[in-house]
Point group: C2
Chain length 393, copies 2
């Protein structure tokens, strides 16, 4: 187990009717609030009006910035930064899923950067070596269980002009509070629920596949969070108005990505980085891209530490084949993973998503641009990534 | 799953050599520090000198208050409160295990109480209806994995004059940071390691046995944390200088009691309250008392929700008997739990600890004094508690 430092101060307010607390919680951080959200879904499902009512009752002044799209765009971030400066915003309230929250985080630190620094060039594009010291406080009303951004330190933004999707990470970006009412998930389209479940599972996979040994508490926690996704995602799709299954998925989504479950180890993240190329270029849903990339990544890397994959196969997928042939044990687990994705209605091959082989080399090259390699379980170069993408054809 | 609010801002600094960071971390909260600890063990194992060196290097002024004993005493808390007021202490650094940390928490809020309020009478004895708004910041260097107080909101103090042991709980009591180096555990006496493991397992049991349904992520996390204690406590005893097993136990001890694992449910806590009577009267180690109380409590209550105990038996203890006779399934699990405690060298009956039946009624009556009942899985009155203590004879 490696040395680690863990700190996560997000206040989670979870359950039915909790959106009514939004106003008071936001008010604690100032009177001038930027309400950041996506398209019309929060207006259709009633979340918008509940949030506005609560903010009004708390007596705060609200400036709105809507229009966040999946794979949130740098252009809107720049607009938000200008708006925060102009309106002297005290805090940003993100109402939506991971895209809205990631966009809010970018605006939150971008608007406090000194003259001459650029949010994209000097942070997202830089990859490492930056330090984010000041941000506006971000609060969240979460409506989609998926990205885990509601209590994570990360933000991923896409520059659509150059089709580049990049993350930043900083403890200062962890939201101050997250209001999570599983009832807001009742009206989500089935495909979005499936993509969310895939994203949650991917966050667990990324942390599970490590070369670090003797970190069994984290292994067990990750395995069981995976089993929870595998158990409850199909039930949430089958019974969309059942609170129990929504609540399981929503809480699992937060714990999958608040960094608690990868302390003492180095997580992988290659599959996320490869997927960023896919969705940066083709604008497919992140969760769908992950369902395509992960099985291919597993097939390419598992022999580098087959015992870790055997543990995964037996503990997560209950594969009970003889260990006399470990390859078969692992392949069975990957088969079960693919069947699980398919059962949710997700693509598991590039062709399922209508993507051909014309840009594999370009994506593989772009993924490592400015980086020495992708991933930590196996350090990948452009030629490895191209092979993984070919396995995903 | 019930609505919940979760917030835990303790910064965990975990691993080899981390004590060197103590000075800088404490310094962030002020220059005038109360160093609170127990007897001589931190002087023998080298922790004291490392802490002092780090504090000196950070340029803080240190006032020492030693002498905390297991079942920490109100008398020393009162002494600490006077000392903090007299020396205008900015923060308290607790170096030790749960007793030292609990004592530090009591001093931390006690020293800021207004005139006319008493730390014992108006808080610990009150049981409920109090609110702790101000405390000195508490930092921790943890040397014993057991109580989980390093990132919990609770503190338990004993008034030795009246043999009364009582808890308080408040979010404001959560320590600001906890430095956790598993190497400090190498020299712990085997009995203390065993008692610590029993305390950790008890924190998991208390949260697991709930009447709340459909909270499966927490169930799974609790079951696996239990399996981790069951796997690694014997290994830590067998190989006391093996870092891996110490690290597993230490991290499990924190997660068992930082409240993460009981969100969305009402935990029980009757066994802890009953044990407080035992250790308040006989001054036995808390973990030993819990090993005596828990099997008896289980035998007394399990029929109130036998399916929860069947889940525990199958998932935690791998009991694979037919469900045609659920009582036998549950009894087998309790047998395995008792064998586990015995394998660690712990008592599982009052008689094992040299305690007779002379005060059972007194303890049972004292346990519910000022309370409507003990526990939540089954609400216990004095006569129930007496029966449980008889089952523990």
């Amino acid at each position: 187990m490696l040395n680690f430092e863990y700190y996560n101060p997000t206040r989670i307010v979870f359950g039915k009717g909790t959106i009514a607390k939004t106003g008071d919680m936001a008010r604690a951080y100032g009177k001038n609030i930027l309400l950041h959200y996506g398209g019309g879904s929060i207006k259709k499902n009633g979340v918008y009006i509940k949030v506005i009512d609560s903010l009004k009752a708390a007596g705060v002044h609200v400036t709105e910035l809507a229009g966040v799209v999946p794979n949130p765009r740098l252009s809107l971030v720049r607009e938000g930064i200008e708006l925060c400066r102009e309106k002297q915003i005290d805090m940003i309230l993100a109402v939506g899923g991971g895209s809205v929250i990631d966009s809010a985080k970018a605006i939150a630190f971008g608007s406090l950067l000194p003259d001459g620094q650029d949010v994209w060039r000097d942070y997202y594009l830089k990859g490492e070596g930056y330090s984010i010291s000041k941000t506006l406080p971000v609060g969240v009303v979460l409506t989609i269980p998926a990205a885990g951004s509601e209590s994570s330190s990360g933000s991923v933004i896409t520059d659509w002009d150059t089709h580049t999707k990049r993350p930043v990470n900083s403890e200062t970006l962890i939201p101050r509070f997250a209001i999570m009412d599983p009832e807001t998930n009742f009206s989500l389209p089935a495909y979005q629920v499936a993509c969310g479940a895939s994203d949650i599972l991917a966050h667990l996979h990324e942390r599970y596949f490590t070369m670090e040994k003797h970190n069994d508490l984290s292994d067990r926690m990750l395995e069981n969070a995976m089993r929870n996704v595998i158990s409850y995602a199909p039930l949430a799709l089958k019974h969309p108005y059942d609170y129990r299954y929504r609540a399981e998925l929503m809480w699992t989504g937060t714990l999958a990505h608040n960094n608690l479950l990868d302390q003492g180890r180095i997580a992988d993240w290659a599959s996320h980085d490869i997927e960023h190329e896919l969705s940066g270029l083709y604008d497919i849903a992140h969760g769908a891209g992950l369902a395509i990339v992960f099985p291919a990544w597993m097939k390419y890397v598992y022999r580098d530490n087959i015992d870790r994959f055997v543990q995964y196969a037996t503990r997560v997928w209950s594969v009970s084949l003889s260990l006399d042939d470990k390859d078969v044990v692992v392949e069975s687990a990957i088969d079960r993973l693919e069947s699980f994705y398919r059962s949710l209605g997700l693509p598991v091959r590039l062709s399922d998503a209508g993507i051909g082989n014309e840009h594999l080399k370009r994506m593989a090259k772009s993924a490592v641009t400015g980086r020495s390699h992708l991933g930590n379980f196996k350090k990948l170069q452009a030629e490895d990534i191209e092979k993984i993408l070919k396995l995903a054809m």
